[in-house]
Structures are given as C-alpha cells and as structure tokens.
C-alpha cells in the first residue's frame, strides 16, 4: 500500500477520535486541561509552592499516561457501542495502523494540556537538555506500556460496563497509587511499598531524580529503568499476542 494511503488511514483515526470531537464539542478542550491540572494545583497549594516543579513535571507525565490509558475507553466505545471497529477490521486498515492512529489521536487530544504545562515548566522549572531527554524517554516507555494495556483490554472487553471496570482499575494502578505529583518519600513507609506496585512509580522516580528532587543511587536508577522497560515490553508483547483484532470467540 502506498505511503499516502497509509497516512490517510492514520489521519482518519486522528480525525475520528480527537479533531472532530474537539471541533464539534469545544468543551472537550477544557475538560482535557482540567483533568490533569486539578490534582497538580492541589499539590502546589497544599505544599505552599514547595512542590511546584515536581507537580508540574508530574502533571505532564500524567497527561501522557492518561493519553495512553484513554485509548482503552475510546477503542471500546468505538468497538462495542458503535461497531466502528468492526467496519475497520473489514477494511484495508491493519490493526497496527489503527492503533498507531488512535495513539496519535490520544496525544492530539492532550495537545492543549501539553502546551500549557510545557509553558509553565519552561517558566518555573530549571531544566537542562539532558533532563528533558531522560524524562522524555521515561514518558515514552510509560506511554507504550499504557497504550499496550489499553489496547489489550479494549479488544478483550465484551461489554462497556466490563470495560469501565477495567478502566477504573487501570487508572488506580497507573495514577492514584503512584507518587507522580510528589516525591515518594512523602508516603509513610509501610504504604510506600504499595506505590511500587504501580509501574508509574519507577518512571516518576527516574524523572524526579533527573530533576534533582530526590537523590537515588545509580543502582536504584538502573533498576528503575530495567523494571520500567521490562513492564512496558511485557505489556507490549502480551498486547500483540493476546489482542483479538479478528475475534476468535
């Protein structure tokens, strides 16, 4: 298939899942911004501004993770409620093209948030190129992981209620229990271990260490990278192996 046709296929998903909803219902723009900024604002106010930098970077990371997780709800809605995905399966668009298109659409959804947070980070956080690269790498790995889990769950969901439940559990694991808006040391010790159940915690530690907000040994940081990459790889492999683009049952 020609490159132009492939680009059309990708662009179609971006139009369906982000550009048209934002164009036809502009309130969505406000919702995507408020979704991640709300918690950030609370953390900043409660800490009297002391956690401004970590909360800003945390909100940026969280908006990307939410973009990855969001694919699960959106894919399931298009598949179960509207049967749009059935029409896609029977079309020349492959599963990979569809998922990449949907992933881009999820990021496109969050562009207003990225612009706002990017501007705030540039103003309030002292950040070097090396730090940007480190945080970006951690974010990309987390996005791939969230995307893989989201796609897997959406393809195995048989009804929308089950899918909501999957979304709720995923949201708690990836966002609620991880110390992404504040350093992990703020969590009292017996509960701190709970935070390590969330893969996001390792990515948050990498970002916070790069910013100099916490100080971890090279061994700890290496371990964080290994765990983050391992979880993302496993999620990706399971998603590829187990997802049912063409239903089996």
């Amino acid at each position: 298939m020609k490159m132009r046709s492939r680009l059309s296929q990708l662009y179609s998903s971006v139009l369906v899942n982000s550009i048209y909803p934002m164009k036809n219902h502009p309130i969505i723009l406000l919702n995507t911004i408020l979704g991640t900024i709300g918690v950030m604002a609370v953390v900043i106010f409660i800490s009297h501004g002391a956690l401004l930098d970590v909360a800003l970077v945390g909100a940026f990371m969280m908006s990307i993770i939410f973009s990855g997780v969001g694919i699960q709800q959106d894919l399931a809605h298009l598949k179960i409620d509207l049967k749009w995905q059935d029409m896609v399966v029977s079309s020349p668009t492959s599963a990979v093209m569809y998922v990449i298109g949907m992933a881009i659409s999820e990021l496109a959804y969050s562009i207003p948030t990225f612009i706002l947070l990017g501007a705030l980070i540039a103003i309030f956080v002292h950040i070097t190129l090396m730090v940007i690269l480190t945080i970006s790498a951690a974010i990309i790995v987390m996005f791939v992981m969230a995307l893989s889990i989201g796609f897997l769950l959406s393809t195995v969901s048989s009804d929308i209620i089950q899918n909501f439940a999957f979304g709720g559990v995923l949201s708690v694991i990836l966002s609620t229990i991880s110390p992404i808006y504040y350093p992990i040391t703020y969590i009292p010790l017996p509960f701190r271990y709970l935070a390590y159940l969330s893969p996001t915690t390792y990515a948050a530690e990498i970002a916070q260490n790069a910013l100099g907000l916490i100080h971890l040994s090279s061994l700890n940081i290496s371990l964080d990278w290994v765990i983050t990459l391992a979880i993302a790889s496993v999620a990706l492999v399971i998603a590829i192996k187990k997802s049912q683009w063409r239903e089996k049952d």
């Binding site: 046709s5 909803p21 749009w84 399966v89 020349p92 089996k248």
Partner: protein, 308 residues
C-alpha cells in the same frame, strides 16, 4: 421499475466451515459452492447463525474449523487481500454521534486509503445517492432520525469501491417507507457489486434477492433463486381460502389453519382438483406459487412445531 445488468459475479466456497462458541455449535459444518451476484439474502430465525456466517465472510471472526473462499481469496489465511474488496455495515452499528454525516463517510473512506479531499467529495455523492436530505450533511449524526442513520451507514459502504458489501439486518427497526427507500438504494447498488445481507423480513428477501440462503440451526437448509427454492419443494403451490373448514379431503398436500382461514400447500396437479371442488362449493380462494413465507414455514417452521 428500473432494470440493471448485473456484472459482479463472485464465487463463495465453504468446506467443512464450522464455528463453535464455548463448545456449542453456532454454524456449520457448511459445504457450499455458489456463484453469487446482485443481492444475496441470508435468512433464518434469531440465532440461526446468519450473523456468525456474515462475520466470518467479512474477516471479522475466525471459524473454529474448515475453509472458506470468497471471490477466489482464502478468507481465513489471506484476509488482508480480501479486505480491499469488502465492506460491512454490522448489525446494530450506528453513526458516531459526535460527527456529521460527511465527516463519518469521509473518515471511513480514509480508512480505505482515500485522501481527505477526495473522501469528502465521494461522501457528498454517496449521501446524495442514499437520499439523505442535504440540510443534514453537516449536522451532528445524533440529531438524525432512525431511518436517516441507517441511510448514513449505508452511505459509508456505498462510497467505498468495495466489490462485496455485507449488510447485517440493514432495515431492522425502520418504518415501511424508510425500508423501501433502502431497497431502492440496494437495487441501484447491485448493478456492479455483490450485496450479501441478512434479514428477518421475508418480504424484503423475496422482493430484493437474486439469491437466497436459508439457514436454520447453523446449517444451510436451502439455497438458490426464489424459483429454485419453490421448485425444490414437494408442494410448490398455495391455495388460500377464507373459510376455516371447506369439507375437502387433501390427499396430496399440507393444510395450515389460521385465524384468517386456511392455506393448502400442494402440487400443481392436486391444486387443479382442489380448485374445482372449491368452485363447486362456492368458497372464496386465491391461488399461486408459494411465497418465501411459505417456504420458510415449510422448511423451518414445521421442525419447530414438531419439537413442541
């Protein structure tokens, strides 16, 4: 009535095609070798296996066992080649509510590799073809009526260059006028495409179909043109009388009694004898070849009666 020369001829071959859900047989084993063109209707009761069959053909669902070829392409092992030629409107599908008709149709075309500008032009043409009022082209689709929503879904596949179009219950829930409107579009469409549809409406299958596949309990119990199906019956003629009792013994046929009167399914030869007797007895009646309703009842209904 418009007439078209049908040019799309597609071969459908199934060999031992079987689909089981959790060990329970939903379809097959099917062994078919058919040459299809125009409109092919798959009819059967709820749960007969119509949707399962159409979803396997549309490469959405993997069968448990067997082989299936459509237009010379292996449906199971070579789905990507087939997907360039097919398009489906699934059962219970509905337009994306946050998009307008033009946005929906053009986005679907883009999934098939068409550029945005061309897709929008084709979308307008397709929406005009299905008869959607132009004032709704740029309205959000959730504001459309049920009939307009079905027309819109139909427009998505019409706009494509797919040679084979699958429609799973395209007129379910539509009022008679909207249904006729869909029929008009399908009749226009069949001149250069193969349309495979499922339906519960026998009147629809009878009036639209060039070929009929009758499925019951996962198995094809009859297939052919309406004339083929009629000729395959033991009793291809029907006499309907308004009286509930006519005092005639039917030796070669079946008598079906209902609230409105009675129906006798019989052979041509016996029909003549029965008609003579009805005239003598001055009983009002109508006579003709059996309808698809009668075929369906004869082949499917009796089996269920026997079970009760």
């Amino acid at each position: 009535m418009e007439h078209y020369i049908i040019i799309a001829m597609v071969e459908l071959k199934c060999s031992g095609l079987l689909k089981k859900y959790e060990g329970k047989r939903a379809l097959g084993p099917l062994n078919l070798d058919l040459k299809l063109s125009g409109i092919t209707s798959i009819i059967g009761r709820n749960g007969a296996g119509k949707t399962t069959f159409i979803r396997i053909l549309a490469t959405e669902l993997m069968p448990t066992k067997g082989r299936v070829e459509l237009d010379g392409i292996d449906v199971i092992n070579n789905p990507s080649e087939l997907r360039n030629k097919i398009a489906i409107v699934p059962q219970e599908s509905r337009p994306i509510p946050w998009m307008t008709p033009i946005q929906i149709v053009s986005s679907y075309l883009m999934l098939r590799g068409v550029g945005l500008k061309e897709a929008k032009m084709k979308a307008v043409d397709a929406l005009k073809t299905v008869g959607l009022d132009e004032k709704f082209f740029n309205k959000l689709s959730h504001k459309l009526s049920g009939g307009m929503k079905r027309e819109l879904m139909l427009a998505t596949v019409i706009a494509s260059d797919a040679k084979i179009i699958f429609l799973d219950e395209p007129t379910t829930g539509l009022d008679p006028i909207s249904r006729k409107e869909v029929w008009r579009v399908l009749n226009k469409l069949k001149k250069d495409r193969l349309i495979i549809l499922t339906t519960h409406y026998l009147e629809e299958a009878e009036s639209l179909s060039d070929y009929i596949i009758l499925i019951n309990k996962g198995k094809v119990i009859s297939a052919g043109t309406l004339a083929d199906l009629i000729n395959s019956l033991k009793y291809p003629y029907s006499i309907r009388a308004s009286a509930k009792r006519v005092g005639i013994r039917v030796r070669n046929g079946v008598v079906i009694k209902s609230e409105k009167g009675m129906q006798i399914l019989t052979t041509e030869k016996s029909a003549k004898t029965i008609i003579e007797k009805l005239i003598k007895k001055r009983v009002e009646f109508s006579f003709g070849k059996v309808s698809l309703d009668d075929i369906f009842y004869t082949l499917v209904g009796k089996e269920y009666e026997n079970e009760e």
